[in-house]
C-alpha cells in the first residue's frame, strides 16, 4: 500500500497520542487506581499501534503493542501499578517519541527497542523487574561487580576451569568512536582470543556483535592460561581498539554480588532506573544540540528537478531582462528587476540546498589508506582537515575518483618505505594530509604527503623521452610547470608499474576530470620533503556568473570567478616583448591573448579602434589579458556542455543559452593563461 501521502497525518496524530500518553502516565503515577486514566492510555496505545503497523513502522508497532498489553493487564487487574514500572513506561514512551521524531525527519523510524521490550515483557508477565544490563555504559565500569550476567552452565565452566589451573578474566574492549568496521574489529578480537583461550560469554551476544548491534564497547568472559598483561597487549594491536581492560574474575565475588543485588534489589533498582532516566535526558539534550534547526530529507531527484526548472527560469529571466531593456518601459523594468532579485535569492537557496559536506567523500579514505599501507608495506597516517566543507552534490559525486587516484599516487610514489624514511632521517611513519577549505567562490582540496617529493629532472627527462615536450621547452620550464608534466598523458615516473597507481591510466585522467568540473589542479613539491596537489573546484557547477563580451559579431562568456578586472587601454600602451604583446598592469608585465586571433573570428571590418578592451584573468598567480572587442555586461548563465560530439574544444569549457535564445560559448580562461 502506498502510504506516503498519509505520512503527515500519521506524524501529526502520533504526536498527539504521545502527548496523551505522557500526560496520562503522569496522572496515573498520582492516581494508580484511576480506571479512566488507564482506559485513556490503553486507547492511545492501541490507536498508535494500529497506525504504525499500517504505516509499516514495525519497531514502533511492537513497542506500542507491549504497552497496550500491559495496560490491558492493568485494566483487568492482572497487573498492579508500581512506581518502578512507571519508570519503564516513561522510558518506553520516550522511545516511541524518538521514533516518531525520526519518522518526521524523514527517517525510517527504526530503533533498537529490544531492551525495553524485554522489560515490558517482564512487567506484562508480572515478574519482578530486574534491571538487566542493557547497553553497556562506561559508568558501569566503576561498579565493582561484573557487568556480565552468567547462567548456571557458564558458572559451572568457570568454576571448573579455575580448578584446572586456568584463569578467568573479564575483558572489556572499547573501540574507537570513528571505527568504521565494528563487526570486523570484533571478529579480529575474537579470533585473537580464541587463539589464547576460550570465550565463555559475551555481552552483547556474539550475534549482536556481528550485526554491529552495539555501541563501541563489549565485554567478554574469557578462560585462559595467558597473563592479563599479555592479553591486553595483544588485543590492543587490533586497529581501532581504543582501550582494553582485563580484570581477573572471581567467582566468589560474583556470587556474593549477586546475592547482594537480590537483597538490595528495590533500592538498587531505583538507583539504576534513575541513572537510566538521567541517561535518557542526556540523550534528549544531545539530540537537541545536534539538530537545532528542523530538517527534512528530500529525495535528491526532486532537488535535481528543482535545479533544472530553475535553470529554465534563469534563461527566461535573461530573456525578460533583454525585452524590458528593449521596450524601455519603466513599470516593466521595475517588475523585471524585482523578479531578478527574488530569483537570485531563490538561486542562493537552491544552491545551498544542494550542498553536501565533503566528509561524505573523505570518510572512506582512512580505511583505504590503512589497507593500502599494508599492501605497500608502508606506515602511513592520515590527517583530515575541514571535512565539514560543503560542496555542490554534483561536484561531490565526481570528485571521489580523482581523490582516490591522487591518494593512491601519494601512497605509491610519494611516501617512502619505513626503511628509506629512516635512512633520510624522517619519522618512519609517513603522513598524508587531506585538507578542504572555502575561498571565495571556490573550494580547495589539498592532498599533501611528506614523502619523496617529485624529482624534477627525472620528470623532465621522462617527458622528453615520451615526446610530451622538447628539450628546448624543458629548459625554460619553471619548477611548477615541470611538476605538472606528470599530469600529462602516459606518465608514470615510478619505474615499475604497480597495481596501486600505475595501471596505464595516469594522472591525466585526474586532470581531465577536475577540468571537466570547471576546476584546476596544481602541484607543488619539495624534493625529499613531500608534495602537495592542490585542487580548485567551483562551489557549484550549473549556474555561474559570467562577463559577456563581444568578438566581432560573436558573443562569448568569461566566468567571473577567474576575472581580476577589466580595463580599457590605448593602443600605445601595448608593448612588444620577445614578439609577445604585453601590457603594464599595475606595475606587472601581463601578456595579452588576442581572442579574435585565437578563435579565428571572421572579421568583416579592419580594427581601427584607438582603444582596446582587456579582461584580466588569473590562473593561480599568473595573469593574462584577454583582448576582446567590447564588453556587454555581467550575467548569470546556466552552464551547458557542448555535447559528447565536441569534446575538448580548445579554450572552450561549455556553452550557455542567452536571453535571445542564441548559444554563447564559455571561455575556459585557464587554458589561455600561459
Amino acid at each position: 500500500m502506498e502510504t506516503t501521502q498519509y505520512l503527515d497525518i500519521f506524524i501529526d496524530e502520533s504526536t498527539e497520542h504521545l502527548d496523551t500518553l505522557y500526560q496520562q502516565l503522569l496522572a496515573l503515577e498520582k492516581n494508580p487506581q484511576e480506571k479512566a486514566i488507564i482506559e485513556e492510555i490503553f486507547r492511545a496505545a492501541h490507536t498508535l499501534k494500529g497506525m504504525s503497523a499500517t504505516m509499516g513502522f514495525e519497531d514502533l508497532a511492537s513497542l506500542t503493542h507491549k504497552l497496550e498489553n500491559i495496560f490491558d493487564g492493568i485494566r483487568y487487574d492482572k497487573i498492579s501499578v508500581q512506581t518502578e514500572m512507571m519508570d519503564y513506561l516513561f522510558v518506553a514512551v520516550d522511545h516511541l517519541n524518538a521514533m516518531v521524531e525520526d519518522v518526521a525527519n524523514g527517517g525510517d523510524g527504526k530503533r533498537d527497542v529490544a531492551d525495553i521490550v524485554n522489560q515490558l515483557d517482564k512487567i506484562e508477565k508480572g515478574e519482578n523487574i530486574t534491571k538487566e544490563e542493557s547497553s553497556p555504559k562506561k559508568e558501569v565500569e566503576s561498579l565493582n561487580t561484573t557487568t556480565l550476567q552468567l547462567d548456571e552452565f557458564q558458572l559451572t565452566i568457570l568454576s571448573e576451569s579455575k580448578d584446572r589451573g586456568f584463569d578467568n578474566h573479564e575483558i572489556m574492549v572499547q573501540l574507537r568512536e570513528d571505527c568504521l568496521l565494528k563487526g570486523a574489529r570484533v571478529y579480529m578480537v575474537f579470533e585473537l582470543l580464541e587463539k589464547m583461550g576460550e570465550v565463555i560469554h559475551s555481552n552483547p551476544t556474539v550475534n549482536e556483535l556481528e550485526e554491529e548491534n552495539f555501541d563501541f564497547m563489549f565485554t567478554v568472559m574469557f578462560v585462559t592460561k595467558e597473563k592479563a598483561n599479555d592479553i591486553q597487549a595483544k588485543l590492543m594491536k587490533v586497529s581501532e581498539v581504543e582501550e582494553v581492560t582485563v580484570t581477573p574474575f572471581s567467582l566468589d565475588a560474583y556470587k556474593e554480588a549477586q546475592d547482594e543485588v537480590l537483597d538490595k534489589e528495590p533500592r538498587k533498582q531505583m538507583k539504576e532506573v534513575e541513572a537510566t532516566k538521567k541517561a535518557t535526558k542526556k540523550e534528549v539534550k544531545n539530540v537537541a544540540k545536534a539538530a537545532p534547526s528542523k530538517t527534512i530529507r528530500v529525495n535528491i531527484e526532486r532537488l535535481d528537478i528543482l535545479m533544472n526548472l530553475f535553470e529554465e527560469l534563469v534563461i527566461d529571466r535573461g530573456r525578460l531582462e533583454q525585452i524590458s531593456l528593449d521596450l524601455n518601459n519603466n513599470e516593466l523594468q521595475e517588475t523585471v528587476e524585482r523578479m531578478s532579485r527574488v530569483s537570485s535569492d531563490l538561486q542562493n537557496i537552491i544552491l545551498t540546498m544542494r550542498m553536501v559536506p565533503i566528509d561524505t567523500v573523505f570518510n572512506r579514505f582512512p580505511r583505504m589508506i590503512r589497507q593500502l599501507a599494508r599492501e605497500l608495506h608502508k606506515d602511513v597516517e592520515i590527517d583530515i582537515i575541514g571535512a565539514d566543507t560543503e560542496l555542490d552534490r554534483t561536484v561531490i559525486d565526481e570528485i571521489g575518483d580523482p581523490l582516490v587516484h591522487l591518494i593512491r599516487n601519494a601512497m605509491d610514489h610519494g611516501i617512502e618505505t619505513p626503511e628509506e624514511r629512516a635512512e633520510k632521517g624522517k619519522p618512519s611513519q609517513g603522513k598524508i594530509t587531506l585538507e578542504a577549505y572555502h575561498s571565495g567562490n571556490h573550494v580547495f582540496v589539498e592532498i599533501s604527503d611528506d614523502g619523496a617529493g617529485i624529482n624534477k629532472e627525472k620528470v623532465k627527462n621522462k617527458a622528453i623521452e615520451k615526446g610530451v615536450i622538447t628539450q628546448s621547452e624543458a629548459e625554460v620550464l619553471t619548477d611548477q610547470q615541470a611538476f605538472e608534466l606528470i599530469l600529462e598523458s602516459g606518465f608514470s615516473t615510478n619505474e615499475e608499474i604497480s597495481d596501486v597507481s600505475g595501471r596505464g591510466v595516469g594522472l591525466d585522467v585526474v586532470k581531465n576530470t577536475i577540468e571537466s568540473l570547471g576546476g584546476n589542479i596544481s602541484i607543488d613539491a619539495v624534493p625529499g620533503g613531500g608534495s602537495t596537489f592542490s585542487i580548485q573546484l567551483p562551489l557549484t557547477l550549473s549556474i555561474i556568473s559570467v562577463l559577456l563580451v563581444e568578438l566581432q559579431n560573436e558573443k562569448y562568456a568569461i566566468p567571473l570567478s577567474s576575472i581580476i578586472e577589466t580595463a580599457i587601454l590605448r593602443k600605445e600602451e601595448i608593448f612588444s616583448a620577445h614578439n609577445n604583446k604585453v601590457i603594464d598592469f599595475r606595475g606587472k608585465v601581463v601578456p595579452l591573448a588576442f581572442l579574435n586571433n585565437i578563435f579565428d573570428v571572421p572579421s568583416d571590418k579592419e580594427e581601427v579602434d584607438e582603444y582596446v578592451s582587456i579582461v584580466i584573468v588569473r590562473k593561480g598567480n599568473k595573469l593574462t589579458g584577454l583582448v576582446v572587442d567590447s564588453f556587454i555586461g555581467q550575467q548569470e548563465v546556466v552552464l551547458k556542455s557542448l555535447g559528447d560530439y565536441l569534446t575538448n574544444v580548445f579554450a572552450i569549457s561549455g556553452a550557455t543559452i542567452l536571453g535571445d535564445g542564441e548559444v554563447a560559448l564559455i571561455i575556459d580562461s585557464n587554458s589561455l593563461v600561459k
Binding site: 560573436e554 579565428d600 557542448l642 555535447g643 559528447d644 580548445f650 535564445g661 542564441e662
Partner: protein, 156 residues
C-alpha cells in the same frame, strides 16, 4: 546499416548536392529548419557550430562539407536532421529532407566502388527504387570521433 531488418525498414531520405541519401528513421530525433548557429572555434570546418535545440546545446555539422568540401548555402529548404548515435546527438545540415521510404532488407545492395561522390567508407549500401538511387549512410563512420580528432590535428 546493419540493424535494418524486416521491422526497421523505414528510412528518412534527404538530398545533398542533387544526390539522395537515406538513414534509418530510428536514428532521427527530429528534423528542424535552420536555427541560429553559434560557431565553435578550433573545430574542423565541417562542424558549423552549436544550436539551441529547445534548451539543449547541440552541435551541427555540414554534411556537404564533410563529403564534398563544399559549403551548404542555406535556403528555405535547408534542414537540420537531429540524429542520435549512442550517446552523441548531432544535427546534420542537408539541402532538403522531405521523404520517408519503406524498403525491404533485400532491396539493399552493397555499395559499388564508385557511387555518387560521398566517400565510399561512409556508405553501408545503396537502394535502387524505380529510377531513383538512394545512398544508405553509415552514421557511425560519419560521426567517428577519432576521425574528427585527426582532422583537428591536421588543421591545428
Amino acid at each position: 546499416m546493419n540493424e535494418v531488418n524486416g521491422l526497421e525498414n523505414k528510412l528518412i531520405v534527404f538530398r545533398l548536392e542533387g544526390e539522395e541519401y537515406a538513414i534509418s528513421v530510428q536514428r532521427v530525433g527530429s528534423i528542424e529548419r535552420i536555427l541560429p548557429i553559434t560557431r565553435v572555434p578550433s573545430t574542423p570546418s565541417f562542424v558549423k557550430g552549436v544550436v539551441n535545440l529547445r534548451g539543449v546545446v547541440t552541435p551541427v555539422i555540414d554534411l556537404k562539407e564533410r563529403f564534398h568540401e563544399k559549403q551548404t548555402t542555406f535556403t528555405e529548404q535547408t534542414r537540420i536532421i537531429i540524429v542520435h548515435i549512442d550517446d552523441i546527438t548531432v544535427g546534420l545540415i542537408v539541402d532538403e529532407a522531405n521523404d520517408v521510404l519503406d524498403i525491404q532488407q533485400d532491396q539493399i545492395e552493397p555499395a559499388p566502388e564508385a557511387v555518387g561522390s560521398a566517400v565510399v567508407e561512409y556508405i553501408s549500401g545503396v537502394i535502387k527504387l524505380e529510377k531513383r538511387l538512394f545512398i544508405l549512410l553509415d552514421l557511425e563512420k560519419v560521426l567517428n570521433k577519432a576521425d574528427m580528432t585527426e582532422l583537428r590535428t591536421l588543421e591545428g
